[in-house]
C-alpha cells in the first residue's frame, strides 16, 4: 500500500475507534457504578457511542483534535517523504469526515478547512538504527488541551516543595481544576523536570503507554499507583456528575532539570483517548 493510504487508515482508526485497553477500562468503570445512577448512564452512553462510531466508521467525538505525529524512521531517509504523505492523508481524511477541520489561522481567525497549516499537523521526528518505521498518532482534543497546566516548584499556595510529595499535590490540584472543562474520566500525563518545552513534551508522550503500564522507576510507579487511587476518591465522576471513576490512569515520567528550575507539566486527555501506532516492517503495515 502507498504510504499516504496507510497513514489515512491510521488516522481513520484513531478517529473512529478506541484502543482495546481504553475500551476495557471504560467497560470496567461502567460495571463499578451503582444501577441507574447518573454516572452509570453516562458510561452507558459512552460505550454505546464507541460501538456506534466503530460500526459507522464516523468520529467518536466531533473534536477530532490536533494531529500530533511521532515518527521513528531509518537513518538516511528524508523527513520530507513523511511530511508530504501525512499532509496528503490529513487532507483526504478531512474530506472523508474522519476529521473535522481544526487548523485556524491565529491572526485572521480563518479555518484552513483541511487541517493543514503552520505546525499543523505537528511532527516529532526521531531517526533510529532499525530498518523499520513506526508512526504514532495522537488526536488531542481542544477541551482537554485547554486544561493542561505547567507549575514550577516550590508552589507556595499548596505548600508544595521540590520533591515527589510536592509533585503529588500539584497533580491533585490540576485534576480538581480540570472538572467541567476536559471530559472526565481522563488520563493524566505528567512530565517532571526539563525546561518549559521538554517538560510538556514529556507529559504528552506518556499517552502512548498502555493503560496500567507502570513507569520502570520504582518511585514513579509507586506515585502513579497511589495517585490513581487518590484521584478517584475526588468523586468528580464521568462528565463531573459525581461517581467512582474520575481518572482512568496516571502516567508520570521524569528527566533532568536545571538546578534553578523544577517544572511539573500536566497534560490531560479526555475519556475519548485516541492514539494509534502504525509499524512498517519488511514492507508489511500493522496497526496497534
Amino acid at each position: 500500500m502507498e504510504l499516504k493510504e496507510s497513514i489515512l487508515e491510521l488516522i481513520r482508526q484513531a478517529a473512529v475507534d478506541l484502543s482495546p485497553d481504553v475500551e476495557k477500562v471504560l467497560t470496567d468503570a461502567y460495571a463499578l457504578e451503582d444501577e441507574s445512577s447518573p454516572a452509570k448512564n453516562v458510561f452507558g452512553t459512552i460505550l454505546e457511542n464507541v460501538k456506534m462510531a466503530r460500526e459507522n466508521s464516523t468520529p467518536i467525538c466531533q473534536d477530532t483534535g490536533s494531529l500530533i505525529f511521532y515518527i521513528d524512521f531509518p537513518e538516511g531517509e528524508p523527513e520530507k517523504k513523511y511530511r508530504e504523505a501525512i499532509a496528503a492523508a490529513a487532507e483526504e481524511a478531512t474530506k472523508l469526515q474522519y476529521l473535522r477541520p481544526n487548523a485556524v489561522d491565529s491572526i485572521t481567525g480563518k479555518n484552513s478547512g483541511n487541517n493543514i497549516g503552520i505546525n499543523a499537523p505537528y511532527f516529532h521526528f526521531y531517526q533510529w538504527e532499525k530498518n523499520e518505521v513506526r508512526i504514532r498518532l495522537m488526536l488531542k482534543g481542544g477541551g482537554s488541551e485547554n486544561v493542561g497546566i505547567q507549575y514550577k516548584l516550590p508552589h507556595p499556595p499548596l505548600e508544595a516543595g521540590r520533591d515527589l510529595k510536592g509533585v503529588r499535590k500539584l497533580i491533585i490540584d490540576a485534576v480538581v481544576k480540570a472538572q467541567g472543562l476536559g471530559c472526565a474520566p481522563g488520563v493524566i500525563g505528567v512530565g517532571i523536570g526539563g525546561d518549559r518545552v521538554t517538560s510538556f513534551a514529556l507529559s504528552k508522550e506518556q499517552f502512548f503507554r498502555k493503560i496500567g503500564q507502570r513507569n520502570p522507576v520504582k518511585e514513579l510507579a509507586g506515585l502513579e499507583t497511589e495517585l490513581y487511587k487518590d484521584l478517584n476518591k475526588l468523586s468528580i465522576g464521568p462528565m463531573g456528575f459525581g461517581g467512582k471513576t474520575t481518572v482512568l490512569d496516571v502516567f508520570i515520567d521524569a528527566q533532568h532539570r536545571h538546578p534553578a528550575t523544577f517544572f511539573v507539566s500536566i497534560s490531560y486527555t479526555c475519556w475519548a483517548f485516541r492514539r494509534k501506532t502504525m509499524a512498517i516492517k519488511n514492507g508489511e503495515v500493522s496497526y496497534d
Binding site: 456506534m52 468520529p59 466531533q62 469526515q97 476529521l99 480563518k110 491533585i172
Partner: protein, 191 residues
C-alpha cells in the same frame, strides 16, 4: 424522562429541576465562541426568530455535504461551555432562549441569567459525537459558514429525542457547583 419540543414555554422550563432527564426534539441552533461574540457585540437579527423560545447548542460538528447541496451531521457532541461564560447570560435574555446545551456547566453570571430570563442548562454527554449526530434528523440551514468555518458556524438543525440532563435550573441550582465544592474538600484532605 421528560419530553420537550421547541418552542418551549417559560412555564415548562421553570418546572425543570436539576437532575431531570430530558428528551429534546424540534429546531435548535449550534453556536460557539465566534457566534456568541457576534450575538453580544452586534445583536444580529438573522438568527432571532429561530432562537426565540428555542435552545442554543455549544457544538462544532463534523458535517457532510451531499451532492444535492444539503448537509448532514456526522459527529456532533457538545463542546466546553465555560468559554461562553462572559456572553451567555446576555445571549439568553437578548434572544429569549429557553435553554443552553453544552458540557461542564457554567458560572454564576449564567446562573443569574437563566433565573432572570427563564432558561436552563442542559448537559449532553461530552465525546458522544456519533450517538448525538444520530439524533440530528435534518440540517435546516447554516449561517456564517464561510466566515466562521465549520465548527463555529450557526447550524440550524432539527433534532429528535436528544438525550440531556438538566444540571443548572432556572432556580439557581447547579450540580457543577455542588460537585466542585465537594471535590475541593476531598482534595484538601488527601493532600
Amino acid at each position: 424522562m421528560i419530553k420537550l419540543k421547541t418552542p418551549i414555554s417559560e412555564e415548562d422550563i421553570r418546572k425543570l429541576k436539576v437532575g431531570d432527564t430530558v428528551s429534546l426534539s424540534g429546531i435548535i441552533v449550534t453556536g460557539r465562541d465566534q457566534a456568541h461574540k457576534l450575538m453580544v457585540e452586534e445583536k444580529p437579527d438573522f438568527i432571532r426568530d429561530v432562537l426565540k423560545e428555542s435552545v442554543i447548542y455549544h457544538c462544532g460538528p463534523v458535517v457532510k455535504k451531499h451532492e444535492d447541496g444539503t448537509w448532514s451531521f456526522v459527529s456532533a457532541g457538545p463542546t466546553t461551555s465555560m468559554r461562553e461564560e462572559p456572553f451567555q447570560a446576555d445571549v439568553v435574555c437578548e434572544y429569549n432562549l429557553r435553554g443552553v446545551i453544552g458540557k461542564g456547566g457554567m458560572g454564576a453570571k449564567t446562573a443569574e441569567g437563566l433565573k432572570k430570563c427563564g432558561a436552563v442548562y442542559f448537559h449532553a454527554v461530552g465525546g458522544a459525537g456519533t450517538l448525538i449526530a444520530n439524533a440530528v434528523k435534518k440540517v435546516v440551514t447554516v449561517h456564517k459558514l464561510e466566515e466562521f468555518g465549520t465548527p463555529e458556524a450557526f447550524w440550524v438543525i432539527e433534532v429528535e429525542d436528544f438525550p440531556l440532563v438538566v444540571t443548572m435550573d432556572a432556580h439557581n441550582s447547579s450540580i457543577h457547583q455542588e460537585i466542585l465544592e465537594k471535590s475541593q474538600k476531598i482534595a484538601e484532605e488527601i493532600m
